[in-house]
């Protein structure tokens, strides 16, 4: 390596900076929400995604803006990375009228943005397996060249819906990519107590699809793995299962003291922190600027959401029917 940057490497560096900007913003958002939950007696259940931001933003960087996203319940990184507005996301969390769901689905795990192709999430884990495959049927029928990406946790991998969706998606070569964020825990249950195989990806060959394991703390590695899977799907070659190995830094929800866990990760030291990993190779000055801008963006967005009115009760009767 001469150290000179080629157009390709320059582009990759630029991509890395763009992903870093997203990841840092998500990290500050996670920390801001945590501080709110701790200080304000938050009325919901926040499932923190801290420590998993790298894989979320890295994978979504492999998607086109018009590709479809179904996210998992841990954090808001996916929705932000796909282009959703932070004020809307925080407003959903806080039950404000300015939320994307106007107080009816927001809470902690439901956001949606039809224009950004963020298709929402169900309250029952694993329901997005079958919905994601179905979305991909529409793309196949319409020939619109779009790929559907479905995130899920290692806990949700136990649902029977996985089997039905994976089987049918593979038979029909549907343009869908499944990304398992394996953080080792399904609430109080350890992954090794729920799975007869060491990896979720081990299940892929049974469905005639590639199973790929990637370091989930390395956003660029996740980007590469996802890009390959997305392109494969776009070529009409069918689904891929990606398993991103990560860590659950906090409890099942913020405030969960994790009595079931002998070695909870406490404090702010995140092993193999994806923010630091991604920051390597980015000049200090650039990083400092991005960090400061991200912090300000998060603070302003959170303040705006806090200041927004609660949803009016009249919305209860809206949107039952189209």
């Amino acid at each position: 390596m001469s150290g000179e940057s080629t157009p390709e490497s320059a582009s990759r560096e630029q991509t890395q900076v763009e992903i870093y900007r997203k990841v840092v913003t998500i990290r500050f958002a996670e920390l801001r929400i945590r501080s709110h939950v701790e200080k304000e007696g938050f009325g919901g259940f926040w499932h923190p995604g801290i420590g998993q931001e790298g894989l979320q933003a890295g994978a979504i960087a492999a998607m086109r803006p018009d590709d479809y996203l179904y996210y998992a319940h841990r954090g808001l990184g996916y929705a932000y990375a796909k282009g959703m507005d932070l004020v809307e996301l925080f407003s959903d969390l806080l039950g404000r009228a300015t939320g994307s769901t106007r107080g009816k689905g927001g809470g902690t795990v439901h956001f949606a943005d039809a224009e950004k192709h963020v298709l929402g999430q169900g309250g029952t884990l694993g329901s997005n397996f079958v919905m994601g495959a179905g979305t991909a049927v529409s793309s196949q029928l319409l020939g619109d060249d779009r790929v559907t990406v479905v995130f899920f946790g290692d806990g949700a991998s136990g649902r029977g819906t996985w089997h039905e969706a994976a089987l049918q998606a593979s038979v029909w070569k549907l343009p869908v990519v499944w990304i398992c964020e394996n953080n080792g825990w399904a609430l109080s249950a350890r992954f090794e107590d729920q799975s007869p195989t060491e990896h979720v990806a081990d299940r892929a060959p049974a469905y005639g699809m590639p199973g790929v394991i990637v370091d989930g703390q390395d956003a660029m590695a996740v980007l590469d793995a996802t890009s390959e899977a997305v392109e494969r799907a776009r070529r009409g070659e069918g689904p891929t299962l990606i398993e991103a190995k990560t860590l659950r830094i906090r409890g099942h929800y913020e405030g969960d003291r994790q009595p079931y866990r002998a070695d909870p990760v406490l404090g702010d030291e995140i092993p193999n922190d994806p923010v630091h990993r991604l920051g390597e190779g980015i000049p200090d000055e650039v990083r400092r600027t991005i960090d400061a801008e991200a912090r300000q963006l998060v603070e302003e967005a959170f303040d705006a959401a806090l200041a927004a009115p609660k949803a009016d009760t009249s919305v209860i009767f809206e949107d039952v029917w189209a």
């Binding site: 079958v130 529409s138 819906t161 949107d319």
Partner: protein, 335 residues
Amino acid sequence: MSADVTVPSGRVIGYGRAINEALAEEMRRDDRVWMMGQDIGRMGGVFGVTRGLQDEFGSMRVRDTAINETFIVGGAAGAALAGTIPVVELQFADFLFTAADEIFHKLAKWRYMHGGQFTMPVVVRLPTGVVGGAGAEHSQSLETIAMHVPGLKVAVPASPADAKGLLKSAIRDPNPVLFFEHKGLYRVKGPVSDSPEDLVPFGVARVARQGTSMTVVATGLMVDRVLEAAEQLAPRGIELEVIDPRTLVPLDIDTVVGSVEKTHRLMIVHEASRTAGFGAEIAAQVQERAFFALDAPVWRVCGTDTPLPQDPDLEQACIPSTDEIVTAALALAAI
């Protein structure tokens, strides 16, 4: 509010054939309409309702699935979010329970819980009711359960004309529709419109027979049995006014109330189990709206509160017969 079905041509075809025509016409009309289910393509469906459709529209638009109800319904929900119009078949309405999360959560609530950003134009076709000893898990009438979860529309056609016209309305509706087709009616024939643009609207009951002695509300297979009972009762001076709501969600309660204000008596006949069936809901709504018009308690003639036995004779004993309807109507008229 009531509307009679217009039958310009008077062409007589079977209820199953009418459904097949509705599917074909809507798929010709709109390329976004497609179908999936078990055995619906190559075989044409276990009841033969989708016969010939894969030949015309190909295996991309008429898809045979594995045995995977959660995918059939949940996949349809996901497909609807991305711009197509799925019409899916569960082989038996009873399989609602194998896809319950997808039906009662995803179809019914996705639009609402995401602030109205999405529409869910999905039709789930559900062969329902008792026919020939299909057993306890293949014979239930579950329309009331569908009615109880906000966000789902519920259609229960009783004639070939309604089967065709309501299904076409269902496919063009941006909301999820559970479409209960009675298995015992598939071979029953009746006049059906030729025009692809003749639709039967949701929420408009059909007055199947005019009468003055009492109002009888019935759906599906029970409509014909009530009409038979009415024929037997007429010579005895009892004239039943027979109302088929055609859709339970939305429910045309106005037509029922208007009829009760004329006849002053109400009986509801349904094949589903008696307890907490839709008859209870209609009874409650009528007493709220027209209590002083009633000269007698509201009566129900319903299926037994039991699972359905497999023996065809025992099975028939579990749902209202024409004789039971006649006996009940005589008793109610005497009050």
